[in-house]
Amino acid sequence: MEASFYHAKTRYPGIFGWIFTTDHKRVGLLYLFSTLSFFAVGVSLGLTMRLELIRSGMHFYSAQTYNAIFTLHGVIMIFLFIIPGIPSSLGNFIMPLQIGARDVAFPKINILSWGLFIMGGAIAVTSLFTGGGPPDTGWTFYVPYSIRTGTNISLAVFGVFLIGLSSTLTGMNFLTTIHRLRAPGMTWKRMTLFTWSIYATSWIQLLATPVLAITLLLIIIERNFGVGFFDPAKGGDPILFEHMFWIYSHPAVYIMILPAMGTVTDIIPVFTRRNIFGYSFIAASSLAIAFVGYLVWGHHMFTSGMSDTARIIFSLLTFIVAVPSGIKVFNWIASLYKGSIRMNAPLLYTLAFIFLFSIGGLTGLVQGALATAVHVHGTYFIVGHFHYVMFGGAGFGFFAGLHYWFPKITGKLYEEHLAKLACFFLFIGFNMLYFSMFVLGWEGMPRRYYDYLPRFNGPNLVATIGSWILAMGLIIMFYNLIHSLFAGNKAGDNPWEAASLEWQTTSPPPVENFATQPVVTKGPYEFR
């Protein structure tokens, strides 16, 4: 037995063995640690916002502070947590193992991506304390406000630019890896559906992120030189910004959700002991989502002053993009049928994922339909919706994956009872917190305000109490994982008796993953 990669000799000593590593597993863990740290900050900010909103009236945040806080919360959660979240951490660690590669195609670019990510994050944080103070535009940086505000937009936007570059490089790296480095016998139809989802995601990262980069640079140019790209007085078009921003940011929501979908698709067969239902449909729907996802961005702009023709076309296309997601949900449910179900924590989180994602997806259709979208635009309905898909979907998928691959990554087992208890708290707290927002939004409470009319008091109180229950769940979950990292029982190489390739080597794996070159002879979900 070879020693695990934790104990292998590295080129540089100590901490430098990590930050200058080229081992995809170490890079994955660096990402895991950094994204989860950002997540903790983002959650804390969210909790303080909920505290401010517990009752109508101003408590401790002024209007300006509140604007800065929700901007920071949004930027952190989107760019520093959920977009890099699954692909860069679990994707980096697991995907090469799943295809039987010794590393990614460009190991040095891999660590460069992480470096750029950290630099971008550091610059974004610096923007809070320098120049005109913390940005207050919301994570969307809409013009004309982002051009006019005196806060430190340029620096923050440049930080996000670097993070985007890092994301693009990761996408390119993974695409090349999946095309070129599969083990003998690892045909496309023998790849896990997690790897398929990472493949589809990487295409979006590679092709959509440059659009964001251009858009952000245009803001910087506008702020410093006033060229007038978005200024009608100078022949520009203010809606151009929204177009460009959402041409990236809609595909980006699929960067968030696709890897989570892939994660749960890998979990379901293992804990139902049967082959996944509809392998090809799930793989194809990932690609379909990646493609159609490019064509629906206009649904974020129904009230922007865009032409009616465009509004109708984008509404129609939005309904089409719901189809591949629906295909996945039905296939997951069908895969549970007649399985011998083992209700372990990964499956429990997966079921929570399916439930929450379905609510998020269906309320998305409310916003995709032109007439109802106009009614709920700019209200808490939207805030409820995107937390359901991003947190209930991508976030819970991430948690499911963390538990599922925890033994693979650490060689230890977490405490099963605690994991389930945490899931229970998370699920209850989550629904109290965010379902209230649907009610509030439907009744007309606008988003991005530090205060509201007294008639909205009831559901807001429920939401704030829910946020504490949710926080309890997070604390239990991370306590369990961190504690088990040091004190957990030994897991053995393949505690779940999974069939896919990443479990066929030692847990944790040795430096170049497999002691001998693996040869693949069967599909990833064939247990007999």
Binding site: H243, G305, S307
Partner: protein, 94 residues
């Protein structure tokens, strides 16, 4: 890769492509003078696309690449084209 390196392209081909590019540049200038209103945008994008394709196909040796490689380039280019077309449904019908 190997097939690519050993492939020899006649200088004549390059010269022809170059002349074609020059003609198309002339056409762009002509089109700009024709006062076609909103269609001048279409004309410009069409000519530019033909030029870019020529460069990709011959100068950048796309012609001699594998089918997969062509496909991997073609699909994103189609996607970005559709994206551009979609934006016109906004600005033309406002």
């Amino acid at each position: 890769m190997e097939e690519n390196a050993s492939h020899h392209v006649a200088t004549k081909t390059f010269v022809f492509v170059w002349i074609a590019l020059l003609c198309l540049t002339g056409l762009t200038i002509k089109a700009a003078q024709m006062q076609m209103g909103e269609w001048s945008m279409v004309a410009n994008i069409a000519i530019a696309s033909v030029k870019a394709s020529l460069v990709l196909w011959f100068f950048m040796h796309l012609k001699y690449e594998k089918r997969l490689f062509k496909l991997l380039l073609f699909v994103p280019i189609m996607t970005i084209s559709i994206i551009i077309v979609l934006t016109f449904f906004d600005i033309w019908y406002r």
